[in-house]
């Protein structure tokens, strides 16, 4: 049904997951297992790039909540970047901007990781 793909690459020991397509209850498990893999291999500095994401549902938002606690416990973070206005509105409505750092683009997110360390 709805297409959803994740492209992962690494940038200065920071993992960037680029999402594409529709993130909803059907595709959320895909993102879940991606996060799972990153955490299992001990990578806790994560950036999620939303540039090509067309749609996100509440189930999609839930995935970020599921992992943020553990990531932060290991001095890491999940930073969000390149959101379209529509996707941002969904995050915003639920109050995510107070829970996650959201950046205009990937570079800013990378910079914020590097400044911190």
């Amino acid at each position: 049904m709805s297409e959803f793909t994740i492209d992962a690459h690494e940038h200065d020991q920071i993992r960037v997951l680029s999402l594409k397509g529709y993130l909803d209850a059907h595709t959320a498990p895909q993102l879940e297992s991606s996060f799972q893999r990153e955490l299992e291999s001990g990578r806790y500095k994560l950036i999620v790039n939303f540039r090509d994401l067309d749609y996100i549902s509440s189930a999609g938002l839930g995935v970020f909540m599921q992992f943020i606690e553990e990531v932060r416990k290991h001095d890491g973070d999940i930073k969000l970047a390149n959101m379209s206005k529509r996707v941002y509105n969904v995050f915003d409505l639920l109050g995510f901007p107070v829970l996650f750092e959201i950046f205009e683009d990937e570079k800013e997110a990378l910079l914020s990781f590097q400044n911190k360390s």
């Binding site: 209850a25 189930a59 639920l94 109050g95 829970l99």
Partner: protein
């Protein structure tokens, strides 16, 4: 046949018989009654009398009963009786006729009676023989059968008519003096040959029946050959008696007996030739009936145990094996079935099996099963190929079995395959070496496919039934969830309220509720649990419980939401959350005070203006407390008469049409402005209709909830 027609036929026959006796007595008494018409009357009476016997015999036969041996038996009995009678009479009363003027005249009245009775019985026997043979011919008939029978009956009729019309023939020769008579007789002989050339029913007899048939046809052919000779030979008492009654009768009897003699002789030879293949034929028939049983079995697919037991027992029958069993790989078995599969303890891991054997106890069977399953597990390549071990004692593939003294000589196994998957195996073994021939293997292979299909069907049907059960349970859940929503909403002269919640699936995560706090204040909430269907519905029920209990002693929106967040954060899964709006309407002051926990903004329509109000606040269950409390803001609205407050879930604002466009906030507000505002219920219906017109779809993608409050003022 009715009683009346039976009586009529009997009476007719009796009358005919009486007439013939009388006729001949008069004939003897007066010497000659010489006019041609009398002879014709005699012929017609004879014809009618025997036609009556034929009709009675034909009608008396149970139709549809195709037992060739029964017909043969009757034939033999008839032939035997006539042979004995004519034999006895010829020896006891030789010279009962003398020839005068080319005609047989009985010497005494006694011999007159005896010969008429003999002729009458012989005629009846001929009729019965003909009818029985016609019955035999019609077994497994084909297109030509009826034509052949008609041909024979026609030649017979032609013979008789010729004999009857030409009149009193010479007595010492068989044929009526006419060149046509010989041609017609020859035609009858040809018809007899044609009829006797086809006996398909012999092949279908079992070996036992074939032996019986052989015996019956052997004696039958002898009896009828002798009878035929006696009826043709002019010096014989039988021939003389028949001719005395009427030469045409003699002709009829001769042709009928000839038919029986030829037919039975061919029958004997044919059965003899079929004997060597009788066993193979029996086996094929057994296989066919086994297949037939299986197709019955396929219908009864509700119990896998029964299915496998019957299948194992049938596979044993098919190849006359000493034991058979069926293994189902539990890894491919559908979940939910695995617990009921199998008898005994699964020998190889991950499989369950059902075994049938007369010659082996359970433990021994288990050892064979274990030894054989190892053949497959050791060598991965033949997983979907049949396995044949003809000499178990020598075969290197099953060393585990050797020295075990188990009575196993040859073993074969076939994979049970559905599509590309091997779901299990069918095994069979025999005590003797080289027990499985090619026919056995072919039948077992075909049977294995049938079993695989049956098992697959069983799985599909159980899955289907399981699905239906879940559907039923979801229906109950839906009814229960509907009861979690308020059955009635408070009504008052100062406001009008309406609400509706439509789940996208059987159950959903949307929630709305209204509580009366005190005389002046009413608490209103609309919420949305993240996720879909069942899990969302469970959290929705929890949310309702928390809301109902908190509003008993709290009224301030901030406090209510803070406490709700604490309660939910402690119990809800980390990836789930609840967005919720909580408003308190003060009916005395006309004020709405509300807070928003990550929920869709509240729509306030004020005259011709509209406004979406979204005070800060994050969803319930996202944060343990500090951030939630810091961000939560409360907003107050002072209502004027005619103002409308609309609370909803994202199923309304995000309802999409086929282009992926969302219904959105603006359309919602404009709909509320456009529509009649007198009744909250009408307005609600109107907005839902607008959404439906927009999406042009009867399928709701997301749970949808809409609550409307129209303020009328004091």
């Amino acid at each position: 046949m009715t009683r009346i027609s039976k009586t009529a036929l009997l009476a007719g026959t009796g009358f005919g018989f009486g007439f013939l006796i009388l006729f001949h007595v008069i004939l003897k008494a007066y010497g000659k009654l010489d006019f041609w018409g009398l002879d014709l009357i005699r012929f017609v009476v004879i014809l009618l009398t025997f036609s009556g016997i034929a009709a009675a015999s034909w009608l008396n036969e149970q139709r549809g009963e195709d037992n060739p041996l029964r017909h043969l038996g009757i034939l033999i009995a008839v032939g035997f009786v006539i042979l004995v009678l004519s034999g006895l009479l010829s020896s006891s009363s030789s010279g009962s006729f003398y020839l005068e003027d080319g005609k047989w005249i009985p010497t005494t009245y006694g011999s007159l009676f005896i010969s008429i009775i003999l002729a009458f019985l012989a005629g009846t026997a001929a009729v019965l023989a003909c009818i029985r043979i016609v019955f035999l011919v019609f077994i497994k008939r084909n297109r030509k059968t009826q034509r052949n029978v008609i041909f024979f009956v026609s030649t017979l009729g032609a013979n008789l008519v010729m004999a009857g019309i030409v009149g009193s023939p010479s007595e010492d020769v068989f044929f009526v003096v006419s060149p046509f008579s010989e041609i017609l007789f020859a035609a009858s002989v040809i018809a007899i040959m044609i009829i006797a050339s086809r006996m398909p029913w012999i092949a279908y007899l079992t070996k036992q029946e074939k032996l019986q048939g052989l015996l019956l046809s052997f004696f039958g052919s002898i009896f009828f050959t002798l009878n035929t000779i006696f009826s043709m030979e002019s010096t014989n008492q039988l021939a003389q008696s028949l001719t005395y009654l009427h030469p045409a009768l003699r002709l009829f009897v001769a042709i009928s007996f000839l038919l029986a003699a030829v037919y039975l002789t061919v029958c004997f030879a044919s059965t003899l030739f079929h004997l060597p293949t009788a066993e193979a034929f029996d086996r094929k028939k057994a296989e066919l009936s086994t297949m037939h049983n299986l197709s019955k079995l396929v219908k009864n697919v509700f119990n896998q145990d029964e299915l496998l037991t019957t299948a194992a027992s049938l596979s044993r029958q098919i190849c006359e094996a000493d034991g058979a069993w069926i293994e189902i790989d539990a890894r491919v078995a559908r979940p939910g079935n695995a617990e009921t599969i199998g008898q005994g303890h699964a020998a190889p891991r991950n499989t369950t099996w059902t075994a049938i054997s007369d010659s082996m106890n359970k433990d021994d069977m288990q050892r064979v099963v274990a030894a054989l399953s190892r053949v497959y597990t050791m060598d991965p390549s033949p997983q979907n190929k049949p396995l044949v071990i003809q000499n178990a004692a020598r075969d290197k593939r099953i060393t585990a079995l050797q020295g075990s003294k188990l009575p196993v000589g040859s073993i074969t196994a076939f994979p049970l395959q559905t599509h590309d998957k091997v779901i299990g195996r069918l095994y069979a073994f025999k005590r003797m070496n080289y027990g499985f021939d090619r026919d056995n293997l072919n039948s077992l292979s075909a049977f294995a496919d049938q079993v695989a299909i049956a098992v697959e069907n069983h799985w599909l049907i159980t899955a289907l039934m399981e699905g239906q059960r879940l559907e039923q349970e979801l229906l109950v859940a839906r009814q229960m969830q509907q009861k979690l929503l308020p059955a009635t909403l408070p009504s008052s002269p100062v406001f009008d309220m309406a609400a509706r919640s439509i789940p996208a699936h059987e159950v959903g995560g949307d929630y709305y509720d209204v509580v009366r706090i005190d005389d002046d204040r009413i608490g209103i909430t609309v919420g949305d649990v993240s996720g879909k269907s069942v899990s969302a519905a469970l959290y929705m029920a929890e949310t309702k419980g928390i809301f109902q209990s908190l509003t008993k002693f709290l009224s301030d929106p901030r406090h209510v939401l803070q406490r709700m967040n604490e309660a939910l954060y402690g119990t809800i899964e980390r990836n789930s959350f609840v967005s919720l709006l909580y408003a308190v309407l003060d009916t005395r002051r006309g004020v709405v005070e509300f807070a928003r926990a990550g929920h869709c903004p509240l729509l306030w329509i004020h005259g011709r203006e509209w406004q979406f109000l979204r005070p800060d606040g994050i969803g319930l269950g996202l944060d343990g407390g500090a951030i939630f409390e810091e961000t939560l803001a409360v907003e107050t609205v002072k209502l004027q008469p005619g103002d409308i407050i609309i609370m909803y879930t994202d199923g309304v604002s995000e309802a999409r049409n086929s282009d992926g466009e969302e219904f959105g906030y603006t359309r919602l507000a404009e709909a509320a402005l456009d529509l009649q505002r007198d009744s909250a219920e009408f307005l609600l219906d109107g907005i839902l209709e607008r959404i439906h017109d927009f999406t042009r779809s009867d399928v709701i993608e997301d749970d949808l909830t809409l609550l409307i409050l129209i303020w009328k003022g004091n």
